[in-house]
């Protein structure tokens, strides 16, 4: 029987993963029996606990069986972790473990600092507690030579000092935090010591769902069943990674997975990506998450039912975070997805068990799950904003260490310069603006932005000189009309991309250019973006033979903030009538005004 056929006759990892803790515990004996059939890698795990560890071990056993490991366990007596490790390591040695898990909680810490304790006392306590654990790890390693997994500590249950608990030397929260940092340093230096981030598990689960005091007093189990499952799940991920079972490649669908909409039907201009709508932002965030995975060494691949040329053209969209060269394999065609995944496996020379497949379409997921049981197929649901969390929750790419090869793919960004800028103090506002490292893209209307331009025109009320509204059709029409100079502006800075934030529509009439519209999003007020826009406008107008730019201010209920706009930009007043005014600017003598924004030009494709 092949591994493939076996999977279908017994509960698999996918089935086990979706069971809640109480169901896993209830069906444990049957699952254990059924999952034990077939080939498994044998593992011997010693668990030294400061609490009753049976529940975590029971759950871990099932999760490991479903991942292909048959584990036998040695468990210390309740709260005998120190004695077993340091005083009687022979017992552990005789068990011949492949790995030892030291499972302690905040309640196992010997002594916490007293309120009002001094820094000296605090650090003495810290180093004595740390030394106690170090002696545990050293003794185990001397006796067995094997890998030790130690978890760090969740915050203590009561913050008796309130917020100050994380601040003063007398705070238990501060003590736990500093001890956790010492543990992290120790694990970072010692390849035989792995740290399980229990504190992160507790924070994610929520402390209210973490501790179960009834079970603590009754059986010395400290955590809720759900928390025990979180601990076991994280451990299973670490163990899988230690023994080479971590996934290596994320296979992604395109339409409605990496961007909103169907590129073949909607066209490149209409797919949702970028910062302009909430949905577009969520797709952008998912792409950024995928890019983060790639930077830490996870391969990316595309598997999409699409025309190959159209699929690739999606990545020419200026808002794409992922670029074509981020993908190690690109399969876009009309073949069934499981065939394409097999092709990707062949191309990358990886086994099918190395892949995670992400697709918004439940039917595609079901086919791949049925045809290729070795491929992990998370249930993505239908809300793009949850995609990164769902992939993350699968713990597919758990790493016990990062190899040089993992990191070589990563490019280091100029984040240091950015941080230095944040710390600096500014002599004047201009220096502050310089520190933002702003760059703008100011260009004639392009098809990909017409929708956002229309949207911005129709929702901008304050920085809006004329209050004119345009339909999409009108915007499209004037974009193609040579008598208009119509510009959009995008602004990015050290903190990220603000997206498309400003629009000017100028209508030329002989040697005059009438500004029918000038708007800007308030999120970039006081950034000098209007100067950068005017610089480009004046230049384009001059090139087109325009001698004077005519600006109009028409008072509306909300646009008082820009009543002086043209005066500030150096326009001369031509006429004023109640709330409205007309202004003019000569182009031949115009000199650039923007000093703090680097304007980049775009090569039209």
């Amino acid at each position: 029987m092949t591994a493939l056929e076996l999977q279908e006759t017994r509960p698999d990892l996918r089935y086990v993963r979706q069971l809640p803790a109480e169901q896993l515990l209830q069906k444990r004996k049957r699952l254990r029996r059924e999952l034990s059939e077939g080939n498994h890698q044998e593992l011997r795990i010693a668990v030294l606990g400061g609490v009753t560890t049976s529940e975590v071990v029971d759950l871990l056993e099932i999760l490991l069986l479903a991942s292909g490991f048959k584990a036998s366990f040695f468990q210390s007596e309740y709260n005998k972790y120190y004695e077993d490790a340091v005083l009687e390591p022979e017992k552990i040695k005789d068990f011949r473990p492949d790995l030892v898990y030291v499972h302690t909680h905040c309640i196992n810490l010997r002594r916490f600092p007293l309120a009002g304790c001094s820094g000296t006392e605090f650090y003495e306590l810290l180093s004595s507690e740390f030394a106690r654990f170090q002696s545990i790890w050293n003794s185990i390693q001397a006796a067995t030579g094997c890998q030790v997994i130690q978890n760090n500590f969740e915050h203590p249950p009561f913050q008796v000092l309130g917020n100050l608990d994380a601040v003063t030397y007398g705070g238990r929260t501060r003590f736990t935090n500093e001890l956790n940092l010492e543990f992290a340093k120790a694990a970072n230096q010692n390849p035989k010591l792995l740290l399980q981030d229990l504190n992160a598990l507790a924070a994610r689960s929520g402390y209210a769902q973490w501790f179960d005091w009834r079970r603590w007093y009754s059986y010395k189990i400290l955590t809720t069943p759900e928390a025990s499952l979180a601990i076991a799940g994280s451990l299973a991920g670490m163990i899988g990674s230690m023994f080479g079972r971590a996934k290596k490649c994320l296979i992604l669908d395109l339409d409605n997975t990496l961007w909103g909409g169907v590129i073949g039907d909607d066209g490149l201009d209409k797919i949702e990506i970028g910062k302009e709508t909430p949905v577009a932002e969520a797709y952008t965030a998912f792409q950024s998450y995928c890019l983060l995975l790639r930077e830490r060494g996870v391969l990316l691949a595309v598997c999409s039912k699409n025309d190959p040329e159209i699929a690739r053209s999606g990545f020419t969209h200026p808002e794409m975070v992922l670029k074509l060269d981020h993908f190690s394999s690109f399969q876009a065609n009309w073949k069934p997805k499981h065939e394409n995944i097999e092709a990707i496996a062949k191309e990358l020379n990886l086994g099918l068990e190395s892949f995670v497949f992400v697709d918004d379409n439940p039917a595609e997921r079901a086919i791949v799950a049925a045809q290729l049981p070795a491929v992990a197929v998370p249930d993505m649901g239908s809300d793009i904003s949850l995609f990164p969390e769902i992939v993350q929750a699968g713990r597919y790419f758990e790493a016990v260490n990062l190899s040089k090869e993992d990191l070589e793919r990563a490019q280091s960004y100029a984040s240091n310069a950015q941080r230095a800028g944040l710390e600096a103090k500014f002599a004047d506002y201009g220096e502050y603006l310089n520190s933002l490292q702003m760059h703008a893209e100011i260009e004639a209307f392009r098809p990909v932005y017409l929708e956002r331009i229309t949207q911005l025109i129709n929702k901008t009320n304050q920085f809006n000189l004329t209050g004119r509204r345009y339909t999409y059709a009108e915007v499209e029409q004037l974009a193609n009309d040579g008598s208009y100079i119509a510009l959009y502006g995008k602004l990015a800075d050290a903190f990220g991309d603000n997206g498309l934030v400003s629009v000017i529509i100028g209508r030329s009439e002989g040697r005059l250019l009438h500004l029918d519209l000038w708007i800007m999003s308030c999120r970039v007020l006081k950034r000098d973006m209007e100067l950068a826009m005017l610089d480009v406008l004046a230049e384009r107008a001059r090139d087109a033979g325009v001698e004077r730019i005519i600006g109009y201010y028409g008072r509306t209920a909300k646009n008082a903030m820009v009543s002086d706009h043209y005066r500030k930009l150096g326009f001369e007043s031509c006429a004023e009538d109640g709330g409205s005014s007309v202004w003019s600017l000569a182009t031949p003598s115009y000199s650039r005004k923007s000093e703090h924004i680097e304007v980049r030009t775009v090569v039209h494709g």
């Binding site: 109480e22 209830q26 049957r30 005091w213 007093y217 059986y219």
Partner: protein, 81 residues
């Protein structure tokens, strides 16, 4: 639900946890006369019962129960309130 019905309702849960598909329960059933009902199984039984009936046993409520019949009376009381 009357007591006999609750006992029928509990049978598949006990059968799962004790891994005995043909398990039959009665009010007199207890850890001393049901095979496999040890302290570890007991912890799982309590978790499953609390989920099944959406109740929480307060600390101490379980320690004096002599058999399943008494537990069922407690479940009755907690589900009614």
């Amino acid at each position: 639900m009357d007591n006999a019905l609750i006992i029928r309702d509990l049978e598949p849960i006990f059968a799962d946890i004790l891994d005995q598909s043909d398990l039959r329960l009665a009010p007199e059933s207890s850890a001393s006369n049901v095979e496999g009902w040890d302290s570890l199984a007991h912890i799982n039984l309590i978790v499953a019962i609390e989920k099944r009936y959406r109740i929480k046993f307060a600390l101490g409520e379980l320690q004096d129960l002599k058999n399943l019949g008494e537990m069922v009376i407690l479940i009755q009381r907690k589900t009614r309130s």
